[in-house]
């Protein structure tokens, strides 16, 4: 039996799957907004604002989910400050969960500042001093650093899983990469839907097109990495010979990746009358796929406890 | 070390520390058990055996040993056996062995119940006269009890009561006692000529030859047939035992209730004793047969007995069935003139002084008349059989849970007929709640309104809530202190008895009835000294009780007796229990509280730790640890030896300290003076270890394999004699037995304990830390049976016997399984019996399956071997 099978599940599924999902989207959203902030056009500004706002909300939600997951939520701050030598900070750069906590804090700050900046830049002049978080070089540097943290949040969750001794998670090094790509891709899908909902107009059409294009390539990459991940597990991949495996194939690979890819690159495969909805449908499917990717990776591992790991005897 | 008839690791885990230490020192451990248990897990060899077949196995070992090269070559064995056992003694000419009578001994007759008490329940009885030593007078011992018998030793418990002829007297013997009895002269008058012997061990009537013939049938093939134990494993056990016995090495046996709970339980132990005597493993360090006793102080409860047949210190209880009218008659009937028991008059008179104090005088035979007498078997099963017939009106149930006990539905039928029942316990047990929660009440078979019993419940303290003493399995008394105060109204058992006694005494104060004089005169004063605060109001002083047990000079109560050698039969000493005399030799010396171990690395007996009766000896009959000349058998096994002037050693010598090894016996003397310097077994009339048991057993002088009362096979050894011809069986509709080989009950079942629970579970099934470890009742069945019956692990199954049907979960395992018995494939199954309906973890009462059948010597039940059926429920 592989060594990882002698460990105990942390039972992370309930809050942590939503956290990983939301965190990935939030981080990805910030990146997308920052890309448009840097290299976009003036017409992208509402999208940038929307992206920052959504990423800030996502960061807050992430923090809430993470806190609720704790056995003692009121001690969330113990991850940042030493409870016994308050207010000395605690920071373990080799522990993803430790850096992750700091990164989430940093990301939340950046996302909030960028949101405020973008809002100030578009809104009443009374708060124009806050435009500094958006305008010019400072704003862009802020965006660049924020994007770094955004990417971090999107990807560290997978690294966190690998830096354990649990089956599947610690048996491959691809989960971080996989979650990162999936995070950006789900962020793109989210942004597409947000644009459709709040900012649909002629000027955002090309933004949506960019997002769709970007997402398509991300999905292709993700599919490749997913295969690499499964291959890297070797015979341990057999743990998916169950309902979770079915979910992996149907919900993650087919519904979450292949169908959206087809919608992007081969719209002709679909009936004429469906095509107007293809962008929205694709985005929704990507979100479903991204969600279940995390469900499958976490739950399949959490379901393995030493007492029932007869699989490899 | 052979562990057989016990699951020592699971049931005596703390004591099992020592076998494990021995194992680390290179000892080999053998476990012989129907199941592969946690003891087997750490043993070097596990040998499966069918429950109830131990005599066949041990008999096989005896036969093998006697015919082995090693035993016949090494002079040690011959020397030990001829010096220290009765191998050379000649047996009465009229003796007939099972070999001659197809499985029976001479003297078998029908048993007739006494009209006074019809619950003795023997299916037959032996007149034991023909089993006696040949004393050269050319006479067979009379069929009904003789003085000659007492000359040899003491009767079996059931015989002590007078239930069997051994103890009964044909007519009045000797003068009835006046107050001027000279007890020494009386004892001397009991002397008989010494038994004849053949030191060459050649005479066909000598014990050695009888034993050899008796066990010749027990071949390895026969062992395999009867026990189902593979021949190769049996031979391995024999080999290991022989290798590990001799001058340099000793082997020990450890057993517990899987040897006792049989219709021939006493004979199993006797058989082991025979084997160990042949191997020279008795009375020497590292040898012996260790009875692993059950409860923490169960040894104490036989020493200061809660048993029906004896009074303190293993004296027979005065009985209405015996010639026990007067003290003199009692002494005449119970005293062995030779050996240490010749002192019985001193023990008895000192005991009566402890009972009746100043009221006990020479003139009134020390109050002997006031002492109650028994009328037959008043043991557990007999009493409940009587109770079920409505012959018992009330019961104090103190520290027992009979509602889950043997043939539990019969016992509960008994409980239902009581007028009143007092339960004094730490918990509301099944016995306290049978009238509203027993299965037969719940399912409506019995109407709660029809139960007229008035039930009283008294909350009890726990052992750590008062001080007192434990006597452990090593006969060692250890004082324990009060660690915490009991909650609420909980009171100790001593409180209860003491205050009940005080009230009864008060109630009888004005009675003039003769039968009440005992109560009026009984000495009942353990009041704490003025100024001392008892732990509970009204609690007696535990040390005053200990003082009475230890004894004191009658006219100087603060002067305690130093030991039982100081006892007198003139009333000048008061001592409740002669064997405990010496444990509290002075008011400031409670030796039971001593805690001084020997320093590490020293091979001592730890004489400074607690106090072991008798006289703080740790190994009984330890004179045998030296050879006939008094030298240690070997350096390695040095224990007690003669230093030229006296016996010395690591232990307290179990011998007359200054009697030289070469001292001859004095044929005119009584007591120890009648024994020679090699007569090491000083409690025996002839000073010998008994291979052949002329007195003491009611079911034969030698162990013989009989089948349990319920068995799937005919007795392969003696097909004409299926089970013990004298076992006890209580006839009752609720106590039906399966026929031999009844196809409706094809499996052999045994019952046992788990480390995680305690007995009826009353004490363990309420404790979450224990119930999570063994949450449910189960039955262990082998994979073959599971397959045959389509039973999967954890399936619910139904277990049936002619008495009842219960349910349990199946635990399918290869630790138990099929045994080939007498050409039949027999499935062996087993159940722990800790469950009942109270507590956190509840389950069916396993004892509803068991029957009221018992050993004829001691009335213990046969809960260890019966037959059943198992089906998927």
């Amino acid at each position: 039996m592989p060594d990882t099978f002698f460990t105990s599940p942390p039972d992370w599924t309930i809050y942590i799957v939503p956290y990983f999902f939301v965190g990935g989207i939030a981080g990805g959203l910030y990146l997308l907004a920052a890309l448009l902030h840097w290299r976009g056009r003036a017409a992208d500004e509402p999208v940038v604002r929307l992206g920052y706002l959504a990423s800030a909300l996502g960061a807050v939600l992430s923090g809430v989910l993470l806190t609720f997951d704790l056995g003692r939520p009121l001690r969330f701050w113990h991850m940042l400050l030493q409870s016994e030598r308050f207010p000395l900070p605690i920071f373990k750069p080799w522990s993803p969960i430790s850096i992750g906590a700091w990164a989430l804090l940093a990301f939340g700050i950046f996302a909030t500042l960028s949101t405020i900046g973008a809002w100030a830049a578009s809104g009443p002049t009374r708060f124009s001093r806050l435009r500094i978080f958006y305008d010019g070089l400072p704003g862009r540097i802020l965006a660049a650093v924020g994007a770094f943290f955004g990417l971090f949040i999107a990807g560290y969750t997978g690294v966190l899983l690998s830096v354990t001794n649990r089956p599947i998670w610690a048996d491959s090094n691809f989960i971080g990469l996989l979650f990162l790509l999936s995070g950006i891709s789900t962020a793109a899908a989210t942004l597409i839907l947000l644009i459709r909902w709040r900012a649909q107009c002629e000027s955002t059409r090309s933004t949506v097109q960019w997002l769709t294009w970007f997402d398509g390539w991300l999905l292709l990459l993700e599919l490749a990495v997913l295969f690499a991940f499964i291959v890297s597990l070797g015979r341990i991949a057999a743990v998916w010979l169950n309902a979770w495996g079915l979910a992996l194939v149907l919900l993650v690979m087919v519904a979450g990746i292949l169908v959206p890819l087809a919608l992007h690159f081969r719209p002709s495969m679909f009936r004429e009358s469906w095509r107007p909805h293809s962008v929205v449908a694709g985005a929704v499917l990507v979100l479903i796929g991204g969600f279940f990717l995390r469900v499958v990776v976490l739950a399949a591992s959490d379901a393995i406890s030493r007492t029932q790991a007869g699989l490899f005897r | 070390m052979v562990i057989m008839g016990s699951n020592m690791a699971e049931c005596h885990p703390v004591a099992f520390r020592w076998p494990m230490k021995a194992k680390l020192n290179g000892a080999k451990i053998i476990h012989i058990d129907p199941r592969f248990t946690r003891t087997s897990a750490v043993a070097d060899l596990h040998v499966p055996i069918r429950a109830g077949a131990d005599i066949a196995f041990l008999g096989g070992l005896i036969n093998h040993v006697l015919n082995s090269e090693r035993w016949n070559r090494d002079p040690f064995f011959r020397e030990y056996v001829s010096n220290y056992t009765n191998a050379a003694t000649l047996i009465n000419e009229e003796y007939r062995d099972t070999e001659d009578l197809a499985g029976r001994f001479s003297g078998l007759a029908d048993y007739v119940e006494s009209p006074m008490w019809a619950y003795n329940a023997f299916v037959g009885e032996y007149a034991t006269g023909s089993w006696q030593y040949d004393r050269g007078d050319g006479q067979a011992g009379p069929a009904r009890g003789t003085q000659g018998q007492m000359a040899a030793g003491r009767p079996a418990p059931t015989a002590q009561t007078g239930e069997t002829p051994e103890g009964r007297r044909a007519g009045a013997a000797g003068a009835t006692g006046g107050f001027d009895t000279d007890y020494d002269a009386l004892v001397r008058s009991l002397r008989t000529p010494p038994a004849r012997t053949d030191p060459t061990l050649q005479d066909p009537r000598c014990v050695f030859q009888i034993v050899k013939r008796h066990f010749a049938r027990y071949t390895p093939e026969m062992v395999e047939q009867v026990c189902g134990s593979p021949k190769a494993k049996f031979l391995k056990v024999a080999e290991l035992l022989l290798e590990n016995s001799g001058r340099e090495r000793t082997s020990a046996f450890a057993y517990a209730v899987a040897w006792t709970q049989h219709t021939n339980g006493v004979q199993i132990i006797s058989c082991a004793a025979l084997l160990q005597l042949l191997l020279g493993n008795i009375g020497r360090p590292g040898g012996g047969i260790m009875a692993l006793r059950g409860h923490a102080a169960i040894q104490g409860s036989t020493d200061i007995p809660t048993l029906y047949h004896s009074i303190h210190g293993y004296m027979s209880h005065p009985s209405a069935l015996k010639e026990h009218e007067t003290l003199e008659q009692y002494v005449r009937a119970e005293t062995s003139p030779t050996g240490y028991w010749a002192n019985l008059p001193k023990f008895m008179v000192s005991y009566l002084k402890s009972m009746y104090g100043a009221a006990a005088t020479r003139e009134n035979q020390f109050g002997y008349d006031w002492h109650p007498k028994i009328v037959g078997d008043h043991s557990h099963m007999a009493m409940f059989a009587a109770m079920a017939d409505g012959r018992v009106r009330g019961m104090f149930c103190i520290g027992q849970n009979p509602a889950t006990s043997l043939n539990a539905s019969l016992e509960r039928a008994g409980l239902r007929r009581l007028e009143w029942l007092v339960v004094k316990d730490n918990w509301l047990t099944e016995t306290a709640t049978y009238w509203h929660s027993a299965p037969e009440v719940k399912d409506g078979t019995v109407n709660i309104e029809d139960i007229k019993t008035e039930v009283f419940f008294f909350p009890s303290t726990q052992v750590a809530e008062y001080e007192g003493s434990f006597t452990n399995t090593q006969r060692m008394l250890q004082w324990h202190f009060m660690a915490a105060k009991a909650p609420g109204e909980c009171r100790t058992d001593t409180w209860f008895y003491y205050n009940l006694g005080k009230r009864l005494k008060r109630a009888y104060t004005n009675s003039m009835l003769p039968r009440d004089q005992g109560w009026k005169n009984v000495l009942w004063d353990f009041e704490p000294d003025p100024g001392t605060e008892p732990p509970y109001p009204g609690e007696p002083d535990a040390l005053k009780i200990l003082r009475e047990i230890n004894g004191y000079y009658t006219d100087r109560p603060t002067e305690h007796l130093p030991g039982f050698a100081a006892l007198e039969h003139d009333g000048s000493t008061t001592c409740a229990s002669w064997i405990y005399c010496g444990c509290y030799p002075a008011p400031d010396q409670n030796l039971t509280a001593a805690r001084n171990p020997d320093p590490p690395g020293q091979s001592g007996a730890h004489l400074g730790w607690g106090y072991a009766w008798p006289a703080n000896r740790r190994v009984l009959y330890n004179r045998v640890s030296a050879d006939a000349d008094g030298n240690p058998w070997s350096e390695r096994k040095r224990w007690v030896w003669w230093d030229g002037t006296k016996w010395v050693g690591h232990d307290v010598p179990d011998f007359a300290v200054t009697k030289p090894p070469g001292a001859p016996a004095n044929p005119a003397a009584i007591g120890l003076d009648a024994l020679a310097g090699t007569d090491a077994f000083i409690m025996k009339g002839d000073g010998k270890g008994w291979l052949f048991v002329p007195t003491g057993l009611v079911d034969g002088p030698l162990p013989t394999h009989y089948e349990p009362a319920e068995s799937p096979v005919r007795n392969p050894l003696y097909p004409e004699q299926q089970s013990s011809p004298v076992l006890k069986y209580w006839r009752n509709d609720r106590n039906r037995l399966a026929e031999v080989g009844d196809p409706r009950y094809p499996h052999v079942i045994t019952t046992y304990r788990l480390t995680e629970h305690y007995l009826s579970g009353a004490m363990s099934r309420w404790l979450p830390w224990l119930t999570e470890l063994q949450p449910e009742l189960f039955i262990e069945i082998g994979t073959a049976l599971a397959q045959e019956k389509g039973i999967a692990n954890l399936d619910r199954v139904r277990i049936t016997t002619p008495r009842a049907e219960i349910h349990a979960k199946a635990l399918v395992t290869n630790r138990i399984g099929v045994l080939d018995i007498a050409g039949k494939r027999i499935h062996h199954v087993g159940m722990p019996w800790h469950w009942g309906w109270m507590g956190l973890s509840t389950g069916d009462v396993v004892n509803t399956l068991t029957a009221f059948v018992g050993d004829p010597n001691v009335s213990i039940h046969e809960g260890k071997a019966f037959t059943c059926n198992v089906e998927k429920a």
Binding site: D3, F6, G71, G176 | P768
Partner: protein, 284 residues
Amino acid sequence: MDHPPLPILPQTAVTTEPMGFYTDTTVCIGCKACEVACKSWNLLPAADGGVTEMSGDSYDNTRQLDGTHWRHVKFIEQFPTEYNGRWLLMSDVCKHCVQAPCLEVCPTGAIIRTEFDTVVIQSDACNGCRACIAACPFGVIGMNDVAGTAQKCTLCYDRISVGLEPACSKACPTDSIQFGTISDLRERAQQRVEQLHANGVNDAYLYGADPNGPLGGLNSFYLLVDEPEVYGLPRNPQLPTRNLMESAVLSTAGAVAAVGLGLVGLRKRRMDEISDERGATSDE
């Protein structure tokens, strides 16, 4: 009346040498005294108030180590056929790893290494993130729902720091669990292995006694007679951070690729727009 003096509880001098357990599974009798002693000393609740079902897995009904079972006795039946085999018994506990995976990942610093070189979770600092549970290669840690924190054996820090032996080893009747300084224990264990080899038990070996072995050695190590996996132990327990570098590099590469891809896309959009504008102009 005066009783003879009772011996004082034997006290081991408090040393700050590495301390731990040597567990000789060949003398374990599966009595579970260690399990109960631990619960009793540490006041740990029984599962479901003690009202549970039997597991059907031999005599093991608690099944695992977790937040309320800091000791757990394993029962491994190896019987190819009836009456023919062996029953391995082993009392499992935290290994007090010299390089402790749980300690490595704990973000709050709740897990500490003590002066006895043991690994202790300070319950008052732990926030229940459960990273340690996933990190421990032996499945030792679990949540204690009463406390809301991750818990495991403390090696009776409260007892050993006042010179008392841990509750479990103290209760162990056969000395299957032995407590002491690691150097002593290793010596004792080595002797026992040699004794067993001399007696023909060639499979006996020590698991976790090697300071150069996995995790720098285990301060609670075992004498076993079968493969580690048979006892539910990993053959080669490792630190979780072994995966950190590779995972981080791959993710970083992915991040760079994604940013690049996004920028390419934006540039493509600009290009497309320019060519569209041109096209539109030329159309005019």
